[in-house]
Amino acid sequence: MWTFFHKLGSPPWLYGISGSILRYLLPLTLLALAVGMTWGIFFTDPDFRQGNSYRIIYIHVPAAVVALAGYYVMAIAGGVSLIWKMKMADVAMRACAPIGAALTFVALVTGAIWGKPTWGTWWVWDARITSMLILFFLYLGVVALYEAYDNKEAAGKACAVLSLVGTVNIPIIYKSVDWWYSLHQPASIKFTGESSIDPSMLYPLLLMIAAFYALFTCLMLMNMRAEILERESRTKWVRKLAEEGS
């Protein structure tokens, strides 16, 4: 266990192992995405109330779910980086932020697009949607803070602090937004979350959620590899790699 931890902290090992994981995981992910999307678009029946627009669910929900989970991954990596001073945890954290931001963005945009045919408006200030927007800002904050630092090691630590502060706040933010929404008279439009879902729609959805989780993992590994190369560009093993590559 301890040696595994130790290995995790070693950039060349991580670079190598992530490469071999990606070799198998990435094609699998892309396949799952393709199958899930085709299934969702072509081979399911339309929803009896929302018609064909509900097909957006197969990207909207997975993106939203994974974007939320991503914040916890990022915060845990940040915590590990601060407590055990593990450099690779920094790198992992840094890798999460842009992916999380992008997925949040996808959830927001697909939600907005979905809203137009179903609710007749692009946007409502619903509790869930508002907190998703805030999550987007939290992610962007981490990305922006990282980019603003010149010293990338310091940047990693600063972002770790920020994401930990964010974790303490996420439950507070969610709770408060919920309260806020029930406090003010809710808007006339209701979020159709509760309607139980038909199995024929559920399976592709589950597949897509799994695919998005896998996608998140792949992207995280890819980002980490790029980041490792940048940070370790002076070391022998990267030089060797570069020589072999060219």
């Binding site: 800002f137 904050g141 310091a154 600063a158 920020l162 964010g166 933010i173 408060s176 937004v177």
Partner: protein
């Protein structure tokens, strides 16, 4: 020549920050004037319909207080960083936890507390019903303390950046939102005659949490910033 105790040192820092602020009275009056001017902007931008203004007054007052705190929080450590004092603070044998509390405390006193004390005037200008004013003042007192603490974290993380500029607002605005929600909810509750107590209690709980945790995050942030 003995080293001062942690609290004595904290008090000395607080005094130093307050003196620095008082040397430029304009700095103290500024957030108030900003507040006043934005209060004036709202009717100009939104149209003067008095009912609508009164209805939205709690939210607006709170939004303005929040912006006012946001805009000044960047300065908490900035000048000390620029002239090298911050390096010295970090090298000091004193516990950083209390030192940063002194910085934030000074910031709260010269923005939040002052703002809370003059807010009734602006509340009346916007037509806020009289019974909500106590809730407004208390919620501002508690809420701006949280804002100052959270703002301090943002300031500590960005002070080392050459052109941090508005980055701080991106970092801390999301964290400000719960305060805004409960702060304006407290006032709104008072407006319709409901008890504001529960909301104020939540603000108080947030404040306790912030006092316990924010200085730790600030200390870590400062140590990182000084090295960037």
């Amino acid at each position: 020549m003995s080293a001062p105790g942690a609290l004595a040192f904290c008090g000395r820092l607080l005094r130093r920050q307050l003196v620095l602020a008082v040397r430029r009275p304009i700095e103290i009056v500024n957030p108030l004037l900003f507040f006043a001017m934005v209060v004036a902007l709202f009717p100009l931008g939104l149209g003067p319909a008095p009912d609508a203004l009164a209805e939205f007054a709690p939210g607006m007052l709170w939004i303005i207080a929040l912006l006012s705190s946001l805009l000044t929080s960047d300065t908490v450590f900035r000048s000390d960083f620029d002239d090298g004092s911050l390096e010295q603070l970090l090298l000091s044998p004193q516990p950083l936890y209390f030192s940063v509390l002194a910085y934030v405390g000074a910031h709260w006193l010269i923005t939040g507390v002052l703002l809370a004390l003059v807010s009734p005037v602006f509340a009346l200008m916007l037509g806020l019903p009289g019974q909500a004013i106590v809730a407004l003042v208390i919620s501002l007192l508690l809420g701006t303390a949280v804002l100052s603490l959270v703002g301090g974290i943002g300031a500590a993380l960005t002070v080392g950046l050459k052109r941090g500029g508005m980055l701080i607002s991106l970092l801390i605005l999301p964290l400000y939102m719960p305060v805004l929600i409960f702060g304006s909810a407290a006032v709104q509750a008072a407006v319709i005659g409901a008890p504001a107590g529960p909301y104020l209690a939540i603000l108080g709980a947030m404040l306790s949490l912030a006092i316990a945790l924010a200085p730790v995050a600030m200390s870590a942030g400062l140590r990182i910033s000084i090295d960037a």
